[in-house]
Amino acid sequence: MSGYVRRAWIVVWKDVLSERRSKESLNALVFFSLLLLFVFQFALGPERARVETALPGLLWLGFILAGLLAFGRTFLVERENDCWEGLVLAPGDKSAIYLGKLAGNVLLMAVVEAVLVSLFALFFTLDFTSVLPGLMLVLALGTLGLAAVGTLFGAITAQLRARELLFPVLLLPAAVPVLLAAVSATQTVLLGEPLGEAAAWLKLLAAADLVYLVVGVLTFEFVLEG
């Protein structure tokens, strides 16, 4: 394994291990998802047609709100005990740290999304099994895009005093292309239409993912240096 991959891997390993032990983010996010579902169910009522129409938007609203909580915390752990300094002084390409953090965020979001989709199915008596492969593809692409831009902005705002305010203000506009494409593609998938019908949205998602990833990789060193 090259030094670059090893460094990216050790960041994922460290973040996953820390989260598995502390469960700080996961517990909060699962509890938050539950609360969100109660609110959605209360707002939408029992009418099935209304739920099905709103479902793609509600799913992604849940994901982005959970992401706002998760991504914003990504680099806060590095501020504790000045670990950030150590990352700055570590030799080698700093984008390995970004990719490691990004992978950790994608894994965390995957767990939250699995819980949220399961809870949606349970609360609204929905059956996703027939559309699961298509849905998983859209979720994977959408999550990668959100996590790519969220991880970068999480790093940018981690050193700021008003980070809780600035993080959503920065992230939400930047995530619009991903959200727009993800909601539209999810709608197509949930309607049971062939995946080809959502090809344009999937291409937009993939392109946005690529752009955010490249921007993250290229700019992370400057962000870390402050």
Partner: protein, 237 residues
């Protein structure tokens, strides 16, 4: 190893360092003394390339550290105020993380040996969250044992260490110098700091007001100079 000339650092209108010049050869140790707020940590952070000076020049291991910070970072190890410890990882996991990040994936036996040297081998699998301040300090020093730095920067390294820990650290720093490493220690602790220094410097009001070989200074004389130069300058201690 280190050549700093006319370093100046301001935070807004407030000067933190004024015209600081110093040089350090391989195998030399410099102890920086000074009351709180006189710029010791700022100077260390500039030497570590964590902070850019407002003006001046800095060469480390022959390279321009202001133009090419990444190129000199492989030669620098640091234990600052922060310990760089992840609280939810165990002692050995912390060492493993920094060992890989430092580009030298040390085998487990070496990680254990480093923990043994700082007398943390019995708690290697315990989470750092449960450690005392002194134990965390030792863990941070164990990280330095694994490093390959030729310039070691330490900010108050003796704080939180018991008598045995101070003795061990003193011996480690002497051995580090003997291997050709250069050392800068910022401390309040006269005795411990002087024990490892070939030169002593006093910072007062952001200026280097004294830089002399320790061989030319007795303990009492240094204490008198410190009182006159650092405390006498009107800076609160």
């Amino acid at each position: 190893m280190v050549e700093a000339a006319h370093l100046r650092k301001t935070y807004g209108p407030t000067p933190a360092l004024e015209d600081v010049s110093l040089s350090l050869e391989a195998g030399q140790g410099l102890t920086l003394l000074g009351p709180n707020g006189t710029g010791k940590t700022t100077l260390l952070r500039i030497l570590a390339t964590l902070l850019r000076p407002s003006s001046g020049s800095l060469r480390i291991v022959g390279l321009d550290a202001l133009k090419e910070p990444p190129a000199v970072r492989g030669a620098i190890d640091m234990v600052g105020h922060g310990t760089w410890i992840y609280e939810d990882l165990t002692a050995i996991e912390n060492l493993r993380f920094w060992s890989v990040m430092g580009g030298h994936d040390a085998p487990r036996s070496r990680l254990h040996a480093a923990l043994e040297l700082v007398e943390l081998d019995t708690v290697a699998e315990r989470r750092a969250r449960t450690f005392s301040a002194g134990m965390k300090r030792r863990l941070a020093l164990a990280r330095v044992l694994l490093g390959r730095g030729r310039l070691l920067l330490l900010d108050e390294p003796f704080t939180g260490l018991d008598r045995a820990g101070r003795k061990w650290l003193g011996e480690f720093l002497m051995a580090f110098k003997a291997r050709g490493g250069a050392l800068v220690v910022a401390t309040h602790s006269f005795d411990a700091g002087l024990g490892v220094a070939d030169r002593v410097a006093i910072l007062a009001g952001g200026r280097l007001v004294l830089d002399r070989p320790t061989a030319q200074l007795g303990h009492d004389e240094l204490r008198r100079l410190y009182d006159d130069l650092a405390l006498g300058s009107g800076i609160a201690s």
